[in-house]
């Protein structure tokens, strides 16, 4: 199955806005909050308006996602994940919403907002996300608008929580690593040989005579 490209080749990408978001990491949570509201509407509209062709596209995207999930290739799964959400936005029959969300999902694919892989690698996250995608897919296919909106909300709320946790985990890990260095280094110092404080390194370089 071929993966759909995020934007048609001719479609431009707002580089400066993407750079602005990337340079200010708090915008990740605003992005997910924005998605929360839009995804609810999108899921409902896709359930109500999706044509046979849209339903075929969503089914193919969902099947591709399942395959990636089973073959345990996180990278491919992330791409398939984005493709699946795009297929839902396309099924809404709202050109403006599809255009804007394609742009935002393309930003997300390029890790403008956060490193998606580390969120995916939170323990249990991949399984939970897969179940959420399945619920979203099934409610849309059953044309259950309200349930689809709920499924979309549950999914995005989970993603926000996973992002917060993965950020916290990463910063705790740094603390643990420093403590371990202190415990294992002979002089009980958290700066190991290869990680001297930079000030000292600079000073050493500054006086060659």
């Amino acid at each position: 199955m071929t993966m759909t490209t995020p934007l048609p080749p001719s479609a431009p990408y707002p580089e400066s806005l993407a750079a602005l978001f990337k340079a200010h990491p708090d915008s990740a949570f605003d992005y997910l909050e924005f998605r929360l509201y839009i995804a609810r509407t999108a899921a409902r509209l896709a359930a109500e308006r999706g044509t046979e062709e849209d339903r075929l596209q969503m089914t193919q995207a969902f099947q591709a996602l399942c395959q990636c999930h089973e073959s345990d290739t996180a990278d491919a799964e992330l791409q398939a994940d984005a493709d699946f959400h795009l297929s839902i936005y396309r099924a809404c029959h709202n050109a403006v919403m599809a255009f804007v969300m394609t742009t935002l999902i393309t930003m997300q694919r390029r890790d403008v907002f956060y490193d998606r892989l580390s969120t995916y690698q939170q323990s249990g996250a991949r399984e939970a996300l897969m179940e959420q995608h399945r619920a979203l897919y099934l409610t849309i296919m059953n044309r259950q608008g309200d349930q689809a909106a709920e499924a979309a909300e549950t999914h995005i709320r989970f993603a926000s929580r996973a992002l917060r946790e993965s950020m916290e985990t990463a910063s705790r890990l740094q603390v643990s690593l420093r403590r371990r260095k202190r415990a294992t280094s002979p002089d009980g110092n958290p700066f190991s040989d290869d990680e001297k404080p930079p000030a000292r390194r600079r000073r050493a370089k500054a006086k060659p005579v």
Binding site: P14, A19, M97, T103, L104, A199
Partner: protein, 255 residues
Amino acid sequence: MVHTAKDGIRPAKLPEAIASFLESLILEGSLRPGDRLPPERELALQLDVSRPSLRQAIALLEGRCLLEIRRNGTFIAPILDETYGNHLYEMMLNDPDSTSDYLEFRSCTDSMAAFLAANRGSEIDREIIGNAFKAMEEAHQRAIPDEEAEADTLFHRSIFEASHNVVVLQIMGGLGGVLRKDIHHNRTKLYNRKGLREILLEQHRAIHDAIIKQDAAAARAAAMAHVSFTRAALTEIDRTDARLEMALRRFAESE
């Protein structure tokens, strides 16, 4: 960002720090596209930095397409660049339902923003929204459709700002910039209709009151009702206009 010993403790370079500060102001909406930066000497004093550092920061931001240097000053660039804007514009031009799609999307974003503004807006945000509404009332009394349409745009912008969500602010601000003429045209169309002006003012008042009272559910409902009404009214006007045109054509043919 996680700091490790390996990263070293290096202060950010001053031009980069200035650039980052100005970026934050753009992101949060304190500087809007089209705003002119104060002259270099003045801005350097206000930020308490040297002019060469400021000049470098401005060059950095120009390189990121966030600033435009023109003969008469340095301006905040449109948030969605021209290529992107044109692409969207073309797409909408070729799609007869695009105004309706835009408003359907707005009913989603505006109800979100009104809800968040009621929940999170500070005292100052409420003051700004209050002033924007007063400006609408004044424009209403003067009954100049053009002015009323402009006040309408600013009122909605103040709610996007008060939502304290930079993504909804930048995306909707960006779209508003691209579709500026169309939106203004449509608003003027609405404000030219007898009876509609009063209804629209009352709808804006309902949004305003709910946000001021910090009643998030009411704010969301009022925003939703307003955009849905606008969408229905514009569809109706377009239909009537089309009928009128057809009648005029028939009349011309029968002459």
